[in-house]
């Protein structure tokens, strides 16, 4: 009797306890959607596409990605801190890129690579909904606009993979990741595919009417289909021109300059400069290259503006051994407006005085003060210079001169900002080419990721031993069971994967404190981040 009561009590209690509980399968992740949710609603695709350009911008302008390394590898800027692989890649003589997944700065190329694929994958997923699933977004031109943004995303992500890496993988809405065998293709194929996507973007813009949402590219400027097409044209020109790996490549028609001319002539007549908000839009590349104690301007650049100034800091380490204590003078008024003399260089003497400089870049100082300034990614001048070079290389020297001299409708930064003399009407091919190179160096300082690096490699001007491009990141090679490989190092200078040229025949040997490993060195970060 008593036992029955107990058993009854137990069973009833258990039942009550259990029914009071929630079920395990009620639990959901309410913080992160899955793919199905992300792509579920046509309206959401619109918002989703609005993040694509931001995602790409934050990747190419990121401290932890490749931009700072490319900046110093081109001897455009200089920074002897180990951070972001800056010391390793700029050490003299140049060593091979360390592609070991365990390398302290493996993230420099790895994150760049992975994040660009992230942009590509998102663009492709959305396009897949539009093309393969036939999803239509409400509102006139909205479906087409979303496709245009995604084609643009496919183009610039795959394009930058092609600019930086020797090979990669092409995946788009026609590829089935589950069933298709996906093989690596050389960078030329990546660039070609990226131009194809940009062409599709331009084609959509040409045949539809829409206005990009303000969040897609913030900053007050309204991008309708016309402006967006211009932007896509400029990017196509940029990718085509900067893709060449060496001088031979650049000049043996592997670059289709007629096509470049076509793109650039339809390119931007404004500066593509998203407005920073310090939360979603910001550039740590533009921050660390100019922040106090960080990046300086390479003496090579100062030397270009003032030939009296040497292109290397004195090996004595004494600023007194520079003419005029390192204070440069130049016909180019930008020396005063864009650059700032610093009597004291923040670097460690032990790392080599060849890393030192008496100048820093000051044109972005407003950004450092407010963190909410426009961040120039592609200046109008860049498109003009791409067009000028295309005119030059397709035989229209006068056309190139006019652009450089700022004949309307061109701005001509050389004249307007630099207040330099007009290029004479009879300027030679070489003079025009030099003027273009000079303008790119000075006017496009710290805008798009890698511009000086790409520009110098196609002229065989990168220091001997500098990698001309990067291997697929070591971690990814491991994951895909591919063999490890790399580029760079003076011993490997073949002019194909590793530079065998140089910007200065007098290029100095290593200073007192050059590379200790004589090749691959594995360094750790040696400067705490400011934010």
């Amino acid at each position: 009797m008593k036992n029955k009561k107990i058993i009854f009590g137990i069973l009833l209690s258990l039942l009550l306890v259990y029914t009071g509980c929630r079920k395990m399968d009620e639990v959901k992740n309410l913080n992160n959607p899955d793919k199905v949710t992300v792509l579920a609603s046509p309206e959401d695709l619109l918002g989703l596409s609005g993040g694509i350009i931001n995602n790409w911008f934050q990747t190419t302008q990121e401290y932890d990605c490749i931009a700072l390394a490319l900046w110093v590898a081109a001897d455009h800027g200089t920074c002897s801190w180990g951070n972001a692989a800056m010391y390793d890649i700029s050490v003299e003589p140049r060593g091979a890129w360390n592609n070991d997944p365990a390398y302290a700065y493996a993230n420099t190329s790895r994150e760049f690579y992975i994040r660009l694929y992230n942009v590509l994958s998102l663009s492709t997923d959305i396009i897949s909904q539009l093309i393969n699933e036939g999803v239509v977004i409400e509102g006139e031109g909205q479906t087409e606009m979303v496709e245009a943004i995604c084609r643009f995303g496919q183009g610039i992500s795959l394009g930058y993979l092609g600019l930086v890496f020797d090979q990669g993988f092409i995946v788009d809405e026609t590829v089935n990741l589950e069933t298709d065998e996906i093989l690596a293709v050389p960078y030329q194929d990546l660039i070609a595919a990226s131009i194809g996507y940009l062409d599709k973007c331009i084609e959509i813009c040409d045949n539809n009417t829409f206005t990009l949402p303000a969040t897609a590219i913030p900053g007050g400027m309204v991008y309708d289909q016309t402006e967006f097409a211009k932007l896509a044209n400029s990017f196509a020109a940029r990718l085509m021109v900067y893709a060449a790996r060496n001088k031979a490549d650049n000049e043996n028609k592997s670059t289709d300059w007629t096509k470049v001319k076509d793109y650039a002539s339809k390119g931007i007549d404004f500066t593509f400069e998203p407005l920073a908000d310090d939360i979603v839009w910001y550039s740590t590349y533009q921050t660390y290259s100019v922040y106090g104690g960080w990046g300086q301007v390479d003496m090579r650049v100062i030397h270009m503006m003032d030939p009296n100034m040497p292109d290397y800091f004195p090996a004595s380490g004494s600023i007194d051994d520079l003419p005029n204590q390192g204070v440069a003078t130049s016909d180019d008024s930008r020396l005063l407006s864009d650059f700032e003399y610093k009597a004291v260089c923040p670097f460690k003497p032990e790392r080599g005085y060849y890393q030192f400089s008496s100048y820093r870049y000051s044109r972005l100082d407003d950004y450092l003060a407010t963190w909410t300034e426009p961040m120039p990614e592609m200046r109008q001048a860049e498109n003009e210079l791409l067009l000028a070079e295309a005119e030059l290389r397709t035989g229209n020297l006068q056309g190139a001169i006019d652009i450089i001299n700022g004949e309307p409708p061109y701005v001509g930064s050389r004249v307007v900002r630099g207040e330099l003399d007009l290029l004479p009407a009879g300027a030679t091919f070489q003079e025009i080419e030099d003027a273009i190179f000079y303008e790119r160096t000075i006017e496009l300082f710290l805008t798009g990721c890698g511009i000086p690096f790409f520009d110098m490699r196609r002229k065989d001007m990168l220091q001997k031993g500098t990698p001309l491009h990067f291997p697929i990141p070591g971690q990814q090679l491991d994951v895909m069971l591919m063999p490890q490989y790399t580029f760079g190092g003076v011993a490997n200078a073949d002019g194909i994967g590793t530079s065998n040229g140089g910007w200065n025949a007098k290029s100095k040997a290593a200073g007192n404190y050059g590379s200790t490993g004589g090749g691959v060195s594995i360094f750790g970060a040696d400067k705490p981040l400011i934010k």
Binding site: R22, Y87, A102, Y117, Q325, V479, T516, G517
Partner: protein, 1050 residues
């Protein structure tokens, strides 16, 4: 929750209906064998039943027992349990003997129900209130430091308000949390132990190893810490006890633990014989005419430093300030505690309040402040129905040092790097604010830490309630039915404020910050509902116990995080005053688990012992296809000394256990996830995994217990654990779009030797001396890894690359470049045509070019592979060879002395702090001033060792230490001595001195060899985990506390 209330009422209802059997009344008196005095509070229970009572203030009891009751069991903490036949008598007296080795101490964690230590078949360690009260730790985690074998408690940071890290028998996860499961009075603690005050704690039991913790299933892979707080029921019936404890003291860093810095530099002076008067007058630098005082920043200084020709850092500064001394101070420490406990016939209660403050050792920072209120109540509704409630309510506030960037060292970095010839206490020339932000012209990046401390404010407010409510129905003499509801509720409010107008460095020179404000709020509510059936029954010589239980867990957490830039007005830390950008994030986590388990414990004649258990856990954290997982244990013990009389041996037991427990995946692990940017889910992150399982730790352990010569006791355990199905973040080919997938993809093996030795050396009337030693040795190896080998380590500053996880490798090894130390090591990599005779070993023991010592060409040589590249290899192992804890209790008459030494032998720490100091040549090693001319080394040599912060063998340091962890001296007056004073109002007075972390003996050159970093916030970071790494990089140093204590009981 509503349903549990109904359930409790149901128990009540049935309980009141229970039938009363035929009874008789037994009375008696309990006295102690040593002094013959009566003992209040002794538990008297009818054997094999739950019928019982405690003795009153006079040591007497009166108990109504069933007519057929045969034996009474008398038990009391610290005394041997007595069993006395009732026979026909109605008066049963007992004489209690001291339980020297605590064989009768009752363990409640990891077993079916309260089990005497001598009958344990698994490993559970216990520290009782007696030991905890010697030197009351600031929180529950620190309280067991050095007191249990196999349990390593590390104060990885000295920051007040932070809990120590507890590692039980090493880690069981390569990527997940290494924290044990914490349970306080039956409540699973989801937050930190930092807020649990020790004065309230009756005992801490630590369930060690997977076999013991199997009872706790899929959350217990790292072991379980079970904390029981004090209750009125331990008092004699009718007794009321008031305890007041006050402790006042200081927190301080002994100056001898400051990091030694160089007091000389390697730059040319204008006049080598005179470094200058007001500032160091460097050659190559032109100072303005009116430049005075230190090396303050001045834009009109031109030129640059020139390296001294000899490159020796032996040139003097104009003067030397000890910047560490400016930043560290003695902070106040105090604890005020009061508790009132009472045991009435049907109700007992304990009410307590504690107020404690620990300021820490950093200037301009308040540290930690806490108020805890507790009430514990038990009430017998009827003879068979007991209701129990335990409730802690409290709040704490923690001020972290301003300017301390979590990942970069902040003030702890700056204070070491600022040159000694600058003055931190001078005001800013720009706006007159105190503490010049840029006190040194030559430190282009390091700010004045005092300025940051005075400006930036960080405060964490925690409000918490921890409660458990249960009803026990003693249904029959062999069954107890228990329903329990327990919860942990916490609110965390964190703010971080950079005021508008704070000076900061911009692109060129100083600028005024527009301000920054961050508010983070977290609300956590986790509760459990548990229904348990306790059974115990004796079948002739076989005693059995069983527990069947259903446990429901529900965890709900939500947080929001708002960051805003640019205030409209000054001194207004409010998000409402933000004019610039704001960003807002929020998060919700919801976890539900169901667990069913049963354990059966067998005891044949008190000498053959065994238990069997099985548990099934289901959790929403498991992948869709793997919702339920089983755990089990079998264990057995044999008390040999019960069968064989062995000379000199009082107790000899062997035992073995085999069992499994596990670790659950993190909340996000099973899901396919996209991460939001600007409100859009644009970043594909992890690919979901429906087959994700909890990890599984399988342990086999054997143990030996022997007590001998009436003085000594030894416990030795060997345990081997294999944790497979480790939950790992596997990288994916980038073109998938998703970066990673969580997979069950690794295994870790642990081997543990642990021993505890106790000696009751002297037990005279007036003089007593007990000594105990704990020992452990833990070895761990990664036995399987199905993802590419990867680096790991603390987040930030690329420190996440210091450790390497690779199949076959020791877990905890430091990975990096190696500097050659002998010509034999050099031989294999000698270039063709080169000769060994071209090299020599220098005075530091490194291979360098022959004849290069003292010159700029003296450079250490790295181990290279056949291609001439630096070889990355194991350069250190953070696992200590072994660890000892050595505790002593001595008493002479009324004076007692207690001290605890903690000895960790071997094991390395990577000293990144030191390495950074080589960067700027600030480390004492670089100072050549006192060196003989032939021993001097150039700064080039030290820069080569620094090697641009490459992880290398030079900065691996032996972390061996001996610490005087705890020390107390008390003078105690008991009730008998106080009877003539104040009409006997006082029952006890205890006054003394207490020291914590008093002395450290070590060759380690950082603040403290007991250092480490814990990665938190594992959810979205690639290799970020809540793991503990022995890595020294600018944490808040540990400090010592010295205080006076007064305890009054009445």
């Amino acid at each position: 929750m509503r349903k549990f209330t109904i359930f409790l009422m149901l128990i009540l209802f049935i309980g009141l209906q229970a039938l009363q059997a035929q009874t008789k009344v037994i009375t008696g008196k309990v006295t102690g064998s040593e002094d013959g005095k009566t003992i209040p509070g002794v538990s008297v229970v009818v054997k094999g039943t739950t019928v019982g009572i405690t003795t009153d203030l006079n040591g007497e009891y009166s108990l109504t027992v069933p007519e057929d009751a045969k034996v009474l069991v008398f038990s009391f903490v610290g005394m041997k349990t007595q069993e006395i036949e009732i026979g026909t008598s109605t008066v049963v007296n007992a004489i209690m003997e001291p339980d020297i080795f605590k064989l009768d101490e009752v363990i409640v964690a990891g077993v079916a129900s309260g089990t005497q230590r001598k009958k344990l078949t698994v490993s559970v360690s216990k520290v009782g209130s007696e030991a905890l009260e010697e030197v009351p730790a600031i929180n529950a985690a620190s309280a067991i430091q050095g007191k249990m074998a196999g349990v390593r408690v590390t104060n990885n940071t000295g920051a007040p308000g932070q809990s120590a890290t507890i590692l039980i028998r090493g880690a069981t996860s390569l990527m997940g949390s290494q924290n044990p499961l914490y349970i306080v009075d039956g409540t699973i603690i989801e937050g930190t132990l930092a807020d649990i005050n020790v004065d309230d704690i009756e005992s801490i039991e630590v369930v060690k190893g997977a076999s013991a913790s199997a009872l706790y299933g899929s959350r217990a892979g790292n072991g379980v810490v079970v904390i029981t707080t004090k209750r009125g029921e331990t008092l004699a019936e009718g007794e009321t006890r008031v305890t007041i404890r006050n402790e006042f003291g200081i927190n301080q860093i002994p100056k001898e633990r400051y990091i030694s810095l160089s007091e000389h530099h390697n730059y040319k002076l204008k006049d080598p014989s005179n470094p200058g008067n007001l500032y160091t007058d460097f050659a190559g630098v032109t100072f303005p005419a009116d430049y005075t005082g230190g090396t303050r920043y001045d834009n009109s200084i031109t030129g640059g430093l020139i390296l001294a020709d000899d490159h020796y850092a032996d040139n003097p500064y104009a003067y030397i300030n000890d910047q560490q001394d400016e930043m560290f101070r003695n902070g106040a420490f105090y604890t005020n505690y009061i508790s009132v406990a009472n045991n009435s016939k049907n109700t007992n209660l304990l009410v307590s309040f504690e107020n404690s403050t620990e300021e820490g050792v950093i200037e301009l920072t308040d540290g930690y402040d806490r108020q805890n209120f507790r009430i514990n109540v038990d009430h017998w509704l009827s003879k068979k129905l007991k209701l129990s409630a335990s409730q802690l309510v409290g709040k704490s506030s923690t001020n972290s040092p301003g300017g301390q960037f979590m990942r970069t060292g902040g003030i702890f970095f700056d204070v070491l790097f600022l040159w000694p010839d600058c003055d931190l206490n001078r005001p800013n020339e720009q706006n007159g604010q105190p503490y010049d932000v840029d006190p040194s012209f030559w430190n282009v990046n390091e700010d004045n830490p005092l300025y940051a401390l005075s400006q930036i404010k960080r405060e964490e407010l925690r409000n918490y309630m921890i409660g458990s409510y249960s009803g026990n129905w003693y249904a029959t003499d062999w069954a107890i039915i228990e329903g329990k509801f327990a919860y942990d509720r916490r609110n965390t409010h964190y703010t971080e404020w950079t005021p508008k107008g704070m000076l900061e460095r911009g692109g060129s020179g100083l600028q005024e910050d527009k301000g920054y404000y961050r508010v983070y709020d977290e609300d956590l509510f986790s509760y459990t509902g548990q229904f348990t059936l306790h059974l115990q029954k004796k079948f002739n010589d076989l005693s059995t116990k069983a527990k069947l239980s259903y446990l429901y867990e529900d965890y709900q957490m939500s947080n929001s995080d708002v960051v805003g830039y640019d205030f409209s007005v000054k001194n207004m830390p409010s998000l409402t005053a933000i004019t610039g950008a704001k960003s807002t994030e929020s998060e919700i986590q919801d976890i539900i688990s169901n667990n069913i388990f049963g354990i059966f414990q067998f005891d044949y004649l008190g000498k053959y012992l065994a238990d069997v258990m099985i548990r099934y856990d289901g959790s929403s954290l498991f992948g869709e296809n793997e919702k339920w997982h089983p755990y089990y244990r079998i264990s057995a013990g044999y008390r040999i000394s019960e069968d064989f009389s062995l000379p000199g041996i009082q107790e000899l037991k062997v035992r073995a256990a085999y069992g499994t427990s596990g670790q659950r995946p993190g909340f996000y692990a099973q899901y396919e996830t996209y991460i939001f940017e600007n409100g859009q889910p644009v970043l594909a992150n992890t690919m979901g995994n429906k087959d994700l399982k909890p990890s599984r730790s399988t342990e086999f352990e054997v143990g030996l217990n022997v007590d001998f010569l009436d003085k000594f006791s030894l416990e030795y355990v060997y345990a081997k654990t294999n944790t497979d199905d480790q939950i790992m973040l596997a990288p994916l080919p980038a073109y998938y779009g998703f970066k990673y997938q969580w997979q069950n993809a690794a295994a870790l093996e642990s081997k543990v030797n642990e021993a505890t030795f106790t000696a009751r050396l002297i037990q005279k009337d007036k003089f007593k001396w007990t000594s105990s030693i704990i020992y452990d040795r833990i070895r761990q190896t990664v036995t399987e890894l199905d993802i590419p080998p990867f680096q790991t380590g603390p987040i930030g500053q690329d420190a996440d690359q210091v450790f390497f996880i690779r199949e076959g490798e020791v877990f905890g090894m430091i990975y990096g470049s190696y500097f050659l130390r002998s010509l034999d090591e050099l031989a294999p990599q000698l270039a063709v045509g080169d000769e060994l005779s071209n090299y020599e070993v220098n005075s530091d023991g490194y291979v360098v070019a022959a004849g290069s010592q003292g010159t700029v060409n003296e450079k250490p040589i790295k181990l290279l592979d056949e291609n001439g590249n630096s070889v990355k290899q194991e350069i250190g192992n953070t696992n200590p060879d072994f660890r000892f804890g050595f505790a002593n209790n001595l008493s002479y008459k009324n004076v007692s002395l207690y001290f605890l030494f903690d000895w960790s032998y071997g094991g390395d720490v990577y000293n990144r702090t030191k390495q950074w100091l080589y960067r700027d040549l600030r480390h004492i090693d670089v100072d050549q001033f006192d060196k003989e001319p032939n021993e001097k080394k150039t700064t080039d040599y030290y820069s080569a060792l620094y090697d641009v912060n490459d992880v290398n063998s030079h900065f691996v340091e032996d972390a061996t230490y001996v610490k005087l962890r705890e020390l107390s001296i008390y003078y105690t007056l008991g009730r008998d001595k106080l009877s003539g004073f104040a009409n006997g109002f006082f029952k006890g007075i205890k006054i003394g001195l207490v020291g914590r972390n008093l002395l450290t003996f070590t060759n380690y050159t950082g603040y403290d060899p007991e250092v480490g970093q814990v990665n938190d916030n594992a959810s979205n970071t690639y290799y970020g985990t809540s793991q503990f790494f022995k890595f020294d990089a600018y944490g808040y140093p540990n400090y010592r506390t010295i205080s006076g204590s007064l305890t009054l009981t009445f």
